[in-house]
């Protein structure tokens, strides 16, 4: 579902894009692989690029850039508390399917100034336009509230990030954006997209992959926990017993 909207976005971009009229876009990430190691506390990556002006010099253009990084799809369960007999209790529960585990957007100006609401919505730009299917016993208005709550929470965790002035121009054509990746980022396959807007429409787009993966030890521990869970639990117990026994020996000697 999400993949398809991406293809539509890219195809649409290429349909509009013709070399003779519009400028070309080149971009890259400072890294295409983030390793989660044992001392991982989040990281910053840089997306950089240039707008290559077209051959014929046209009139001054109203150009804008939007950078979007999307993480793997991560289903969420959202619960709402209600006060019952003075105690706050989780009452309604909604499952949100299809939201990304990470979403970063940087642009040269606020999205509303760059393009029409319809365009921004069509390309699912901005956290307000993220698509999610709701599963739960709830009406459409309520579903919107739950979706908004999920997005609010992700923003608090710095997993969703919108920076309307996050793209910095180093020269007339060179640009750069700093992307904050927090420690709690979900591992998986990411996509980084750059859109070049001209007078409110996309004239060029580029997409590059980014992989976030746990490094050797962390990945092995995680895999063991899920694939060999009995042995994993047993190992945890053995570890505890070994240290408990060591503690006893030390204690006995000091007595």
């Amino acid at each position: 579902m999400r993949l398809r909207t991406h293809w539509i976005a890219l195809i649409a971009a290429f349909l509009v894009w013709t070399p003779a009229r519009a400028d070309d876009l080149v971009s890259g990430l400072s890294t295409d692989l983030i390793q989660i190691t044992s001392n991982f506390t989040g990281t910053d990556i840089v997306m950089f690029g240039a707008i290559e002006p077209s051959e014929e010099a046209g009139p001054a253009k109203d150009q804008d850039l939007v950078i979007v990084i999307r993480g793997p799809q991560l289903d969420m369960t959202v619960r709402r508390k209600t006060r019952m007999l003075g105690i706050w209790v989780n009452r309604e529960q909604v499952e949100l399917l299809g939201l990304p585990g990470y979403y970063f957007l940087a642009s040269t100006r606020p999205l509303d100034d760059i393009a029409s609401v319809a365009t921004v919505q069509r390309f699912h730009l901005g956290t307000a336009n993220l698509e999610a299917t709701t599963k739960g016993n709830i009406g459409p208005d309520e579903a919107t509230a739950f979706r908004a709550a999920a997005i609010r929470d992700r923003k608090r965790e710095h997993l969703y990030w919108e920076s309307p002035t996050g793209i910095e121009f180093l020269s007339r054509t060179l640009f750069r954006a700093r992307i904050q990746v927090p420690a709690s980022v979900p591992p998986g396959e990411y996509r980084a997209e750059v859109y070049l807007f001209q007078n409110g429409t996309i004239v060029s787009a580029q997409s590059s992959p980014l992989f976030i993966d746990k490094s050797g030890f962390e990945r092995q521990v995680y895999n063991y926990a899920y694939q060999a869970s009995f042995a994993y639990g047993f190992a945890a117990v053995l570890m505890a017993l070994a240290f408990g026994w060591a503690g006893y020996l030390i204690f006995r000697q000091s007595q």
């Binding site: 959202v78 508390k81 989780n90 709550a149 962390e218 521990v221 899920y226 994993y232 240290f243 204690f251």
Partner: protein, 306 residues
Amino acid sequence: MEIYLPVAQLSVNWAMILGVGAAVGFLSGMFGVGGGFLMTPLLVFYGIPPGIAVATQASHITASSLSGALAQWRRRGVDAKMGAMLLSGGLAGSAIGVYIFRELQRLGQIELVVTASYVVLLGSIGGLMLNESIRAIRKVRTGGNAAPTKTGMHSWIHGLPFKIRFRRSKLYISVIPPVILGCLVGILTAIMGVGGGFIMVPAMIYLLRMPTNVVIGTSQFQILFVTAATTILHATSDQTVDIVLAFLLVIGGVVGVQFGVRVGSQMRGEQLRALLAVLVVGVALRLFIGLVTTPGDIYSIVAGTP
């Protein structure tokens, strides 16, 4: 200072977690309790998801109860037969508890149930302990003997069938009360992440009427096995054991216990009990406030694996 927890999928300050392990170990060495009732709330305040906190810190209790049980064994303070009876109930209880835990997690009520059980259990036991120790302290001040008050005879317990002789405990009673007691504590272990010593010990003294010198050792003996089983059950059924977190807690705990035991042995029993009671009531109050105050955001989100 930061270390990434591979199962919890977040990074924590390892010195802080070592410190939490050591502090709880210190208190558990000082008071002779497992300390699970402190560990779970502390980890949750720190930002560890409650499910992971409950399951992971069971291994901290395994480590400290092994140290304790070995020391008690040498002092002939373990009634292995009674321990085995408690354990047979305890293992069943822990399996039931892990099942309940998973259902509650699915329904989104695990936090509420864990917190509410803490408030009720800690509040009532802490209140009783506080009351008892204040009276004991007063008695000592007026020059009396500070023996804990005893409740009346529970003759109905002696009327139950399947009687067995427990040599170490000098008892001849039915196996039903120990098995049921073990089962109840096993359920608590799985749901609340506590060893259950704070329920087990009074129940052994007042309900089963076991002599005080075998109570602590026997309770530690059975807690050792129940928490080990709980760790494995949680690891296989809901993958909430984070071995890196467990490692830090165990290291801190094993060291903290040693200092706690030394400090505890220099304090008077009734003062120690009063302090523990204040601590228990304090934790209960803090959790109760959390239940009734309006949360910052009434929505809560669980992403991916809970």
